[in-house]
Amino acid sequence: MANIIGGITTSHIPAIANAMANGLEETPYWKPFFDGYPPVRDWLNEKKPDVIILFYNDHGLEFFIDKKPTFAIGVADEYHNADEGWGIPTIPPVTGESDLSWHIANSLVEDGFDMTICQEMKVDHGLTVPLNLMWPGYNYGHVKVIPVCINCEQHPMPQPKRTYALGQAIGRAVASFDQDLKVAVFGTGGMSHQLDGERAGIINREFDIDCLDKLVSDPEALTKYSNLDLVEIAGAQGVELNMLIAMRGTLIGEVKELHRNYHAPISNTGSGLMLLEHTMPKK
């Protein structure tokens, strides 16, 4: 059976891509952020997951609002990055895992989640920045990635209770896959931030840290928030917390926090890096 060995939360902002492309990791601004990553990289290199299920939101590369899926899953064997319009480097292809992707897609639809299923899907910084953070130098080609994309742009968006339930359904789907695969799950984005309006620039450090605490020990509490609550408390793009909540949903067994690094600000956001080890429930 496939086995979820852990979950990771990480920022995915494009400024990280530029910082890495320009070798700024050791500068005073960036160092407190990048210093959080080596323990997580070490864990990944030691545990060697075969597959990464990666929750992110597309920021207008693959999906425009002409047709905006609420939830989308990639089922391809390869994904490509492309010009996003503002000058971050376009990076090498990402390897996919179509068998497990299709298994999850079948299981989700059976379970009441009517996914948009994508055989071609350009992946933007929401997916590529976390991969390059974990395997710098674009050395992520060996790991197979299953993209799961959540609408965080246009209301109505899926509510936290729904994204958590989606995560749980993916957790069950993985547990029912009959190949021995090690799977890690990334929840990317956030945390508190607002890019638009006169309220741009708000960061809520206290709320972010409370969210990280609850992601470990009381994720159900986060499902009580509505997206409007999140906008009010954590900014218009604070709704990206949904990706972290979805990740936590997949961890249907026992969870142990191994590492955390919260730092703010990075660009306009609070950044929450966390590594959760996961033990699957006994059958």
Partner: protein
């Protein structure tokens, strides 16, 4: 039913706003393509016409008024591509919206990150 509530300084991209903003967002989405960015730079007015922007949207674009673009239904995801085309960072855009200089806006961010 609409999800919109009044959060001061926040313009929610809900259904009616997404409908209103569609031409503007579609134009900015096109900026993923380098040829489109060049076409825009060569003749902005012709590019507004190509995407049938409303007069309100054209006016906001001409003035480089980010708040007016949001009020005209702009999504920050696509407006960010326009900002990139102009060579502006998200901190520059933050400053433009809040009446701060970029340095003041950066300092505002840093202050909130302090323990």
């Amino acid at each position: 039913m609409t999800q919109t509530v009044d959060i001061p300084g926040t313009i929610m991209l809900d259904g009616p706003m997404a409908t209103k903003g569609y031409p503007l967002n579609k134009m900015c989405y096109s900026f993923n393509n380098a040829a489109a960015r060049n076409e825009f730079k060569q003749d902005e007015e012709a590019y507004y016409e190509k995407f049938k922007l409303t007069e309100e949207q054209r006016d906001a674009m001409r003035k480089r008024d980010v708040i007016a673009m949001l009020e005209a239904g702009g999504s920050i995801y696509y407006l960010a591509k326009f900002a990139g085309l102009l060579g502006l960072s998200v901190q520059d855009v933050g400053g433009l919206q809040t009446g701060m200089t970029t340095e003041e806006f950066k300092a505002f961010l840093v202050k909130q990150g302090e323990i």
